[in-house]
Symmetry: C2
Subunit: 331 residues, 2 copies
């Protein structure tokens, strides 16, 4: 029920995902049963007629309450225990589900994920990992908005989480981790970044040092390409929202100057956020993927595929294992 | 002598500026006299033959030492008292000069500016104000790298400094000031941003509230356009370096896709940093303009014009006056 275009976009995304996922996977749609059934019937008799064969792989789970996009997170999850958010996450605790995807209220999803799934031992806070398009390869930026004031130990944990995500979901071997900073020298940065640099050197990761704002679009610094970028959620959020807005701004400028629109679209396709689908909330015990409220069916399909890859690669188990020594060493 | 292309670019920038500045203005070139004289002679007999008439408005001030781009700031200004950086700034203290512009070592320029010019009463630190191109109007972003850990009181002082710069140098009336944050609600952000929001409401400025990363390319938020963006030097530096890199990245992508290069250049001209020339170090008693080490003659010409506007508008006096009540109220 979550997101600006629910249930149309969520139902459509589920059907599109089923067509591409391993046939063993099924999808649970959580929300008002009658509404979902009607939408499924409409789409499988309409625009997704060719996907009607996948209807049997969809289960509807009743959840009558809806958390609005502007509800306060804490109050919403306490006051609406039968919301699709809370009910959907609880399925994982009961072993009835492996992963949760939502385009609903991000704050409520974070809060409900921590309350329902709980955090891995040794972690104080989860991090939102956003996949960020670059000239070379997509990179994982975390935290991108869950935590505004981060300690060096927390930044180091984010690095551990991001490295596992890059390995398990993006398929990177020995992922290169960079610390977002204002200069490449280890003594640069604010207090947290300076201390985090030292902790990261000892964290058992492939830490390639500080990277700067100028290195982000290219996905590489002087020491080579990187897979994971660690920063606090304040700077991560500002940079990601800026990036989301700057490409459309440049495209609009070029269109106004008469540059051919079809050329622009094709050239900038890899900047299209919808192909990355969703941002996992890393650190919780289980899988919770946060999708943008304005997610298209394609974005939701890709978020569901990210969730499936996370499950198939046993990401959650790897995170639990990796955090054991790290938490003793750094917290 | 400062910058990657000195003395060619600096001498050329000075000649170009004199041709556009009020005839009452003169320029002092500070450095190794013989080198500067030879370069001036070469250019006024060569590519700038038509500007030879302005040679009489240039004075050469001897400064034999050169601070390298990689010298450590503190050691450089103590160890090289006869550098063009230190000698050039001292001219203002002696009343022999009104403003200083350099494309040299930024760290050394900041340190030398604070030591030689000193800070206005009530200020703890200066801020670098960078002019940032947007779809609407250029905006001033500060701090863009001088201070990595900022208190709310310091962010509020940056707002005061930026508002005066926007008025005096950019010609804005009652400049709108925004606080860079991760959401528009006043309770959003890290500890410093939340407290700064409250201080800014009481600072006697035209404070329009929080602005987000997504508002930057357009130069406007829901509440209208803004002239000044306040942030700490960590996030400011990351965002500005990212912005400098993202436009060339998108242009390269489009070229590869076969979009016509001449169209791109014309359309994106207003993203050209060289037209903004230099970033003032605000808060020192006097004028110190920091130019990029890679500054072209055009960028240096524009930095000199920014310096002249700051002097003509009596920016320094306005800053001293504005900080009196603010410093009592907020520090």
């Amino acid at each position: 029920m979550g997101g600006d275009f629910a249930p149309q976009a969520t139902v459509s995304g589920a059907l599109l995902a089923l067509a591409e996922l391993d046939p063993a996977h099924t999808i649970q749609l959580v929300g008002a049963t009658a509404t979902i059934e009607a939408e499924l019937a409409r789409q499988t008799n309409g625009e997704h007629r060719e996907l009607a064969g996948h209807r049997g792989r969809i289960e509807i789970i009743e959840a009558p309450d809806v958390i609005g996009m502007n509800d306060k997170p804490g109050a919403a999850i306490r006051g609406k225990p039968n919301s699709s958010m809370v009910v959907g996450l609880k399925l994982q605790v009961g072993g009835k589900s492996d992963a949760f995807v939502s385009a609903g209220n991000t704050g409520a999803q974070m809060a409900a994920s921590v309350v329902v799934l709980r955090l891995h031992a040794g972690l104080k806070r989860p991090a939102i990992a956003t996949v960020f398009p670059t000239a070379k390869q997509p990179v994982v930026v975390l935290d991108s908005g869950a935590n505004v004031d981060c300690s060096a130990a927390e930044l180091t944990q984010f690095a551990q989480l991001g490295a596992i995500y890059a390995e398990d979901v993006l398929g990177r071997t020995n992922p290169a981790v960079g610390l977002l900073n204002i200069g490449e020298e280890s003594e640069k940065g604010n207090a947290a970044a300076k201390e985090a640099h030292q902790l990261l050197l000892a964290a058992g990761l492939n830490f390639i040092g500080n990277i700067e704002g100028r290195d982000l679009p290219g996905g590489a610094c002087d020491r080579g390409p990187f897979d994971v970028v660690v920063c606090d959620g304040f700077v991560g959020n500002v940079v990601l929202k800026f990036y989301e807005a700057v490409a459309p701004f440049i495209i609009a400028t070029l269109k106004k100057a008469g540059v051919d629109e079809s050329q622009l679209g094709a050239a900038l396709q890899h900047l299209d956020y919808s192909q990355y689908g969703g941002a996992p909330l890393l650190g919780v015990k289980g899988i919770s993927i946060i999708s943008h409220g304005k997610s298209s069916p394609k974005a939701l399909k890709n978020a569901l595929k990210v969730a499936a890859r996370a499950v198939e690669s046993r990401m959650d188990e790897h995170i639990g294992r990796r955090l054991q020594p790290a938490s003793t060493a750094t917290v």
